[in-house]
Symmetry: C2
DNA sequence: TTGAAAGCGCTAACAT
DNA sequence: ATGTTAGCGCTTTCAA
């Protein structure tokens, strides 16, 4: 690898001149000096050493990205959009870490980012407890959290970008209600993350508004202790078993997310419960896999690309101007109808006048 | 952030002593000197600046990982295993890049790695043309290619880790043959990557051996030009349409990979072709999603974790000793039976004596 | 057993 | 318009 020295020698100029070219300070530079430097750079196939530059400037064109597990299709999707936005819009590379929702792994990742001189980091769907985040922020990290709402009333050094989870679940439940369902359930994994609580609230609000609050149920179930990508799927399967044996079975189900819905549907199938004939299901996320399961899953879709862009812009912006206040950025979800919801057969005509159509 | 200077001052020693502690050269060090240094490090929450270290040593504990798109569940799975192996076994971080199978993006990623001082890189399922790889290797990158076989007879500066694709497809076809299928097809996307050709060969070899070569068909279909994660799914769907309209329709299908199989099954469903009653399907990859589609997909599973470990060990090994020769590492696949294969109804009893069981 | 000092490649004052 | 120079924080001889 050639260095700035080699380029300077080759071009017959000093290293400062080369450095000036490198950093775009070509304003009052001799036209042919510039040309000679450029030629030398090309001839030597010179690439500035980032470590040296970083040692001097304290900056490195890199972002950290922390996900529970990149094998989970939802996180893979988000990661792709974030990497693409960071690279194409700002030339930033992405350092990836799987945390398996382990606090120690998260902390170590922050430490490594700091040591590597990386100042911007995106944390996807982390733990409820955010204290170690604040500590990382104090050490100089500019952080954006995805899929966690800000804790109300607490000033945070972290940007929060997420979908309106309340609205997402409300939309899903309302869709079921519109189709005449009156025995509703929200199926979730236990362990209250903030986004889960919000979804539950949205679900219950829709039920309440339709006068169905009394019969609406929230079914949760412990996930396996160790984080796996099939965690949600397993929860769905397990819940299917429980629901199958339930005499007062719900006819309309909102799933915490698409992966859980897939597991739920697979489980239902094993118990011979037809979807959507016997039970209708709505997911949340809008993964492209939802078109592949059978029946294709009706789901509340998240504007992932837009969120990814906002995340990157926030980091870049606050990196450039640390005095910028942090904020909360909420995105609207959108229901995408597919084939997992049918009109409820038990629906009373009075309650659903359009049942005959 | 505190520096080595701060630690030295706090401990009342020179920076060399601190550096020695940092690098484990504590052999003949005063017992309490060591203790004082350690205490100072802890007290100041000191973390060595990697950029400075790298500038000196030329090394940085980081690997590059290039995938077509991390949103593709198969690449997400591989990426997770690689990141985990790199981090847990060697403390290495992973720099991720999506290439969308674009040669320019790949080249730029290599350039950036070099500039960042990263010397090890893993390339997953890249283009057929490997010339830009060799150029990167000449510039000092230690490279491992996943899912591409070495070009025979050509000495390469690259390690190749892959599954035995021939065997994978052979296994899949043999499984169909065992179930009495005599009209076989291999469904693939057009564009001949090496792994695809090998799979085709394995498929045809199995057909040949069963005397079914004449009727065995390879169906390919152009993917959309721009790389997308639903690329394979779309190809599967399109092929389903074609197969549905085929009077001499195959009864046993081997899909290039699981994603394509999902699309194929979804397409078949739309055309009212029952799986496995009318057509049996076998995928290749063994993604966990295969348990979620309906019917659950019988698939030839890849030993992804073992492959990921080998990939990391190869890089680390050759980074430590560049004189190590590169090699090819082939892993055996394994058939996992689920519900997408049934005994062929058209099977002639003579050809399949156990048909009556 | 510990310390002094050179230098990795670059940026950005400051000089000229 | 271009060059000189002082570090950024660390590792590693070499000397004491």
């Amino acid at each position: 690898m050639s260095t700035i020295q080699d380029v300077a020698r080759q071009a017959g100029v000093s290293i400062s001149t080369v450095s000036n070219v490198l950093n775009g300070r070509t304003g009052r530079m001799g036209k042919d000096t510039l040309a000679r430097v450029r030629a030398a750079i090309a001839a030597l196939d010179y690439r500035p050493n980032r470590a040296a530059r970083q040692l001097k400037t304290g900056r490195t064109p890199m972002l950290g990205l922390l996900v529970p597990s990149i094998a989970n299709p939802m996180y893979g999707y988000i990661a792709r959009e974030i990497e693409t936005a960071a690279q194409e819009r700002h030339g930033l590379r992405v350092l990836l870490g799987n945390t398996y929702r382990n606090r120690l792994k998260e902390t170590r990742f922050f430490d490594d980012l700091l040591a590597h001189g990386v100042r911007g980091v995106i944390v996807v769907s982390s733990l409820v407890d955010e204290r170690h985040f604040e500590s990382a922020v104090e050490h100089g990290l500019v952080m954006v959290s995805y899929d966690r709402r800000a804790t109300p009333e607490i000033r945070s050094g972290i940007d929060h970008v997420s979908v309106d989870n309340f609205e997402a679940a409300r939309l899903a439940a309302a869709h079921l209600i519109e189709h005449g369902h009156r025995r509703l359930a929200f199926v979730t994994a236990s362990g209250k993350t903030m986004s889960r609580s919000e979804k539950i609230d949205g679900f219950l609000a829709a039920a309440e508004q339709a006068g169905l609050r009394a019969s609406a149920r929230v079914l949760d179930c412990a996930a396996r202790a160790d984080y796996g990508d099939s965690e949600m799927v397993d929860v769905g399967r397990e819940q299917a078993a429980r629901i199958a044996g339930d005499a007062e079975r719900p006819t309309g189900i909102v799933a915490l997310n698409d992966m859980l819905a897939y597991g739920l549907m697979a489980g239902m199938r094993e118990y011979g419960i037809a979807i959507p004939a016997a039970v209708s299901v709505v997911g949340i996320d809008g993964l492209f896999l939802s078109t592949l399961v059978s029946p294709a899953l009706t789901s509340v879709e998240l504007p992932v690309r837009e969120m990814a862009r906002t995340i990157v812009e926030r980091i870049v912006g606050r990196l450039a101007d640390p005095s910028l206040p942090t904020g909360e950025f909420l995105f609207p979800p959108r229901l995408v109808e597919r084939d997992s919801v049918a009109r409820c057969r038990d629906a009373e005509p009075a309650a659903a006048p359009e049942a005959a159509r």
